[in-house]
């Protein structure tokens, strides 16, 4: 597992937090460095991934989608099949194992789509730990099923009423809370964002997604690599896990897909790389949606898990070096892709993942039928059904 010692990715990353948190971050860094060298830790993690999460998740050739899009062959990495329904559980189990190793009995987390909250609550239940989840009041409404799951799992849910009442504010509130409970609580960050060592650690805990995909695709293709690998980018954890494994395969195009909301031009979007500037938010330097002065701007995306004005620092670095191309797709394009996968393959994707699908649809023809895309289907869409049905209803009424 690789990470820069200072926690920087080029000019990005770092550890921009209140002094109170600095010592605990150093402790976590240290404990993680040890754990990642400890075969017992790795074995416990791997065993949980296999018997509890259900890994490896399959790589599925989406034949009807491929036909419909008329170009590159579409392979889906089925993180939607993981226990709790998204890639998030990989990371929370890793962090919970680390928390246990560090002797912590309490977990806390921020959540947007609720997937990370559910995954943290799940890990807490599994390890017999307490769990508190910070979630924006708006997201509590639009991701109701996940709220119910957290309740049943015994987590305490703190409704965050400040700001846009979405993921950004949940994370701010979580940081505030952590400062107060830093002595006994492990903060399980849900994406490859936040202060060092989180971006590297979360990437590492998601890296099996890419490693498996690479192995699976090579097995299917007789040793070839895919032409492009696509993943949606909110904070960037599912994409980082995917890209890390293909980073050195320079022939493989890596494409991160951000949420363009109503369109990057409208200012109502969540595309921090495509439409933001360098800034510092929630502990690290990266691309941020902000005013000219540096006030953080509200993100907008139909997808709660992408509705965040920042992005993990390694993505900022990959964008700057050009190793990964970042595109953005609108709410509407993502919804179209949501329906395509649902109706053509019988898989209801998360709205987050639908962004990666939508970009693949745009590029499929251009790449042609000789090409192959591996797309990370980062989660299932059960949590989004109410949102989608509501939009369908509104569309129907305005027709």
């Amino acid at each position: 597992m690789s990470m820069s010692d200072s926690g920087h990715f080029g000019i990005f990353g770092g550890r921009y937090v209140a002094e109170t948190l600095m010592p605990i971050l150093a402790d976590i860094e240290q404990a993680y460095a040890e754990a990642s060298q400890d075969p017992a830790f790795q074995q416990a993690f791997t065993q949980l991934l296999e018997t509890y999460v259900g890994r490896p998740s399959p790589l599925f050739f989406a034949q009807r989608l491929t036909e419909a899009w008329g170009g590159a062959k579409i392979y889906l990495k089925r993180e939607d099949l993981n226990h709790t329904g998204a890639h998030k559980i990989n990371n929370t189990l890793g962090q919970a194992l680390l928390a246990k190793r560090m002797g912590r009995r309490k977990l806390m987390a921020e959540t947007g789509a609720g997937q990370h909250g559910v995954a943290t609550a799940t890990a807490a239940a599994l390890f017999g730990m307490e769990c508190r989840v910070y979630m924006g009041a708006e997201d509590i409404i639009r991701q109701a099923p996940n709220v119910k799951r957290m309740e049943l799992l015994g987590a305490e849910i703190c409704s965050v009423e400040s700001g846009t009442r979405t993921l950004k504010d949940a994370m701010s509130e979580a940081l505030r809370a952590w400062v107060a409970e830093v002595e006994d609580t492990f903060y399980v960050i849900g994406s490859a964002a936040g202060p060092h060592p989180y971006p590297s650690m979360v990437r590492d805990f998601q890296r099996m997604v890419g490693d498996e995909s690479r192995r699976q695709y090579m097995a299917i293709s007789g040793g070839k690599l895919p032409d492009a690998v696509l993943a949606c980018v909110g904070g960037g954890s599912n994409a980082a896990g995917m890209f890390a494994a293909f980073e050195k395969d320079t022939d493989v195009e890596l494409i991160g897909v951000e949420a363009a909301g109503y369109g990057v031009g409208t200012g109502k979007h969540a595309a921090s790389i495509v439409g933001g500037q360098v800034g510092i938010l929630h502990g690290s330097k990266s691309y941020v949606l902000q005013s000219a002065e540096g006030q953080i701007q509200n993100a907008h995306s139909v997808s709660a898990g992408l509705d965040y004005p920042g992005v993990g620092p390694e993505h900022a670095h990959w964008a700057q070096t050009g190793r990964v191309a970042y595109h953005a797709v609108t709410d509407e394009e993502a919804l179209d892709a949501f329906f395509s996968l649902t109706r053509l393959e019988g898989i209801i994707p998360a709205l987050e993942s639908s962004h990666a699908l939508a970009e693949a649809q745009k590029l499929a023809k251009e790449y042609g039928s000789e090409a192959a895309f591996v797309i990370n289907l980062s989660g299932r869409g059960d949590k989004d059904m109410e949102t989608v049905l509501q939009i369908m209803k509104e569309k129907h009424e305005s027709d």
Binding site: A18, M22, H282
Partner: protein
């Protein structure tokens, strides 16, 4: 000599403890904010910590979060904060420390900020979310412009770490009394004296203690072991309730009681 150093020296020489007042610049609007600040400076405040409002103040409790929001809605910006300092400097010589979050300063540019702040009459800068390790880029411009980088120390900060983060700091050490965000609290931690002794063992800088002080009584207790007492949320609440002067006076006399 930097006004902070001068003030601290004067206090020490006079056998008094300092009163550091935190107010969010522009809360609830620019005019009222200026009036509040003047009132505070007129009634016994030794050092002004001027909060630069930020959209996402992750180290602040509800009172200062709300103050930031009001200030932003009232049109406050970093350049206008500097204008405010410039106006205050005409009438006051108390040291002024800008207190803020790194993104605004980063976007403004550290060089530019150090120059403009010094020019306006600022004496030090305290960046809540810019720990020692990340402060390198800002350190030179501040020094070159005669501004102090005010370091924060917390109950979680180890001795080794204290030694590091206080190595090139100036002005005073801002010691965070609680593990938690800003906001009024009812108690003073029992081991405060011990903690400060530990800090003093690695630095000669004076120590201001803040986060949670909200009454004259608490101020007395804190001032017994600290060189200065920082009060923020309590002042903001008082200001919004129209009793800022009374509150300033209460704290002032609380502090002064510590050395009777």
């Amino acid at each position: 000599m930097n006004r902070i150093d001068a003030k601290m020296q004067a206090l020490r020489e006079a056998g008094r403890k300092g009163f550091v007042a935190f107010l969010t610049a522009g809360d609830p609007n620019i005019d009222q904010s200026e009036a509040d600040i003047r009132a505070a400076l007129d009634h016994g405040v030794d050092i002004l910590e001027l909060g630069v409002p930020f959209s996402d103040p992750t180290a602040d409790g509800p009172v200062i979060q709300a103050a930031s929001l009001r200030a932003l809605e009232g049109g406050m910006t970093l350049p206008k904060v500097l204008d405010l300092v410039r106006r205050l400097r005409k009438d006051y010589d108390q040291p002024i420390v800008l207190f803020g979050y790194v993104n605004l300063f980063f976007r403004y540019g550290y060089e530019q900020l150090a120059r403009d702040a010094a020019d306006a009459g600022v004496d030090g800068i305290l960046v809540v979310d810019l720990p020692y390790e990340e402060s390198g880029e800002m350190a030179d411009p501040l020094r070159e412009n005669g501004l102090h980088r005010i370091p924060l120390a917390a109950p979680t900060t180890s001795q080794a770490r204290l030694r590091m983060i206080l190595s090139d700091a100036g002005g005073f050490v801002y010691y965070i009394m609680v593990t938690g965000v800003t906001g009024a609290r009812q108690f003073v931690r029992a081991d405060l004296g011990e903690r400060l002794t530990a800090v003093r063992s690695v630095t000669n800088l004076p120590i201001a203690v803040g986060f949670g002080v909200s009454s004259g009584e608490q101020a007395t207790t804190v001032a017994t072991s600290a060189d200065a007492v920082v009060v923020g949320s309590a002042l903001i609440t008082a200001a919004r309730e129209g009793r800022l002067t009374e509150c300033v006076q209460e704290i002032r006399s609380g502090i002064d009681k510590a050395v009777l």
